[in-house]
Amino acid sequence: MCGISGVLKLDDGQADASQLGAMIATLSHRGPDASGVRLLGPAGLAHARLSILDLQGGAQPMSAANARLWITFNGEIFNYIELREELVGKGYQFTTRSDTEVILHAYQAYGEECVHHLNGQWAFAIWDAAEQNLFLSRDRAGVRPLFYTQSRDSFLFASEIKALFACPEVGREIDPFGMDQIFTFWVTVPPRTAFKNICQVPPGHSLTVKGNSIRVQQYWSASYLRSGEVQNRTEAELAEELLHLLQDATRIRLRSDVPVGAYLSGGIDSTLITALVGKVVGNRLRSFSIAFDDAQFDESSYQQEASSFLGTQHSTVSCSHADIAEAFPDIIRYTEQPLLRTAPVPMFLLSKLVRDSGFKVVLTGEGADEILGGYDIFKEAKIRRFWGRSLESTWRPLLLKRMYPYLQEFRRQPTANLKHFFRVTSADLASPFFSHLPRWALTTRLKLLLSADFRAAIGDYDALGELETTVPEAFGSWPHFTQGEYLESRYFLSGYLLSSQGDRMAMAHSVEGRYPFLDYRVQEFAAKLPVNLKMKVLNEKYLLKRACQGIVPPSILHRTKQPYRAPDGRCFFKEGAPPYAHDLLSPCAIKKRGIFDAQAVSALVNKFKAGNASSVRDDMALVGVLSTQLLAAEYINQ
């Protein structure tokens, strides 16, 4: 795991070492072990290295084909051993043991199609000096980040936006449309980011720059419409195949020249992955988890139970309200986008624990909920659609009460209110975004906080319209459950979970996360499964639970699912909280930045100060405003 950056001059200029040096210096947290810069005429590549594979021989930027090809690479290619053998069979000669060199020779052998041969998590750039061609690629799920922009005379790319901002010619401005997306979907829709003219390579896409032309193309998307391929197989056979795939996905993710640990959240997914890791490494397994002082978020009893059952050496870091308030500015510096939740903070503390314990690599259960039917939003959509088939029914909406058992304030709501909030209209039923409409409706209300000027800048921009241009052509005719899965996997997973809670929080402490559920073979298998094996009636992750029998303790297998959450807005108003929240939310600071309405923010702040804020809406609003103010203070010049 590393940081990468680079430049390609689009006029007749030459790449500049000082510019590349300034860019890569901002990414030293991603790669503290070494750094390198290579000038290649109009192109320049830079690399900050976290040494995990081939500690002696893997230095970058690296070349092949008599220095015709140069690469800077962030990530891991887990099938590099098999791919290397394949390439050796084709006559390619290797001088290192690294996966980096495997990519270079795969590119030589297969050109831009090389990405189809890779199983891993990556962001890389290859400069072909003979063709004067720059090729960028990002992994299928979007585990590793890759941003780019174009200035007057250069194309620039980097693992994090702050490296692009190290170039004075790159403008720093909040994108009103990006903000509108975040205050609707919680994330931006790639290629958009929170900053104007800063783009991201979407997951499963590559980008080529040749001459003055930039071409972005999709090379992978899980195909959800092949359920016929598994139709004649029994549940037992499918559960066995799922487990077999996860075992192999875990096995190849243990390839490392440094020790590997595992996160234990107390749920099924991470417990299964930890169990599978344990089968390979035996009694040397180290596990790590986060506990909360606030009991409503704490799952440490389940974590301890899983650790005891699996026999891991377990370490826990505890997170308090004060910790969240203390670390939040650091978090925003790393996430580089506004947040509506503080949940990345504990992940930041957890990666510090991992690093302080001498580990650089952890495996986690991320991705299972998206691809195997684990989320409450899938359940919610199923209930709403069931109700929608008989809108006059008085008992069908009572099922709404079955949702969100961990949210006390939700359970106390009268059914009449839930019926109206989750109401189903014929227009809703016809929408391909049916599953997410209530969530987005709730989030959209936060835009009432925006200032008149900022709302004018957004104008009549239509975030849903833009989203619609990015979904597959046949999306509207997909099975309803699949549409919801796609929205979670394609946008929220990479845009928030894998970035703000994943890559950014882990790399802040130079730790690499690896995700067996996001092995493309597992993803493609899951995409083929009939939806009733993912959620049987209202039983989430049905097939995964079946595959876990005997591996995961029954108490964890059958427990009520509790999504990972953290204390939100009130953390910033506790006695002894750091003063920055008060300063950044003051009418003066709000007016100065111009994004939010000072009066509306004051009303919100006063509600928190008086102890009257108790809703998800207020929490999201407070965290959304504060994180945006922090982001602007960190990255935007006044």
Binding site: F410, A416, N417, F421, R423, L442, S615, V616, R617
Partner: protein, 91 residues
Amino acid sequence: MQEPQSMETTDTEHEIRSFLVDNFLFGRADAWHDDMSLLGNVIDSTGAIELVMFLQDRFAITIEDTELVPENFDTLNNVVSFVERKFHSKA
């Protein structure tokens, strides 16, 4: 809990409107209009309890779960009428 006071419709309406605007619309009075449907549009998935708590505290009335129906809560007028009925029946 505040002491219940004598009830004037305009005052009651003003207080409830202010609460709804401050609590659910972040004080943005320009986003409010008096005949808008509250359920689903103003009061969100967890907001009904906040409104009930406010009404009980401010007007010293007790609201039963069975009274949480659209006829009593779907518009500002409905809420005001409901509160006045409760208040006067109590007296």
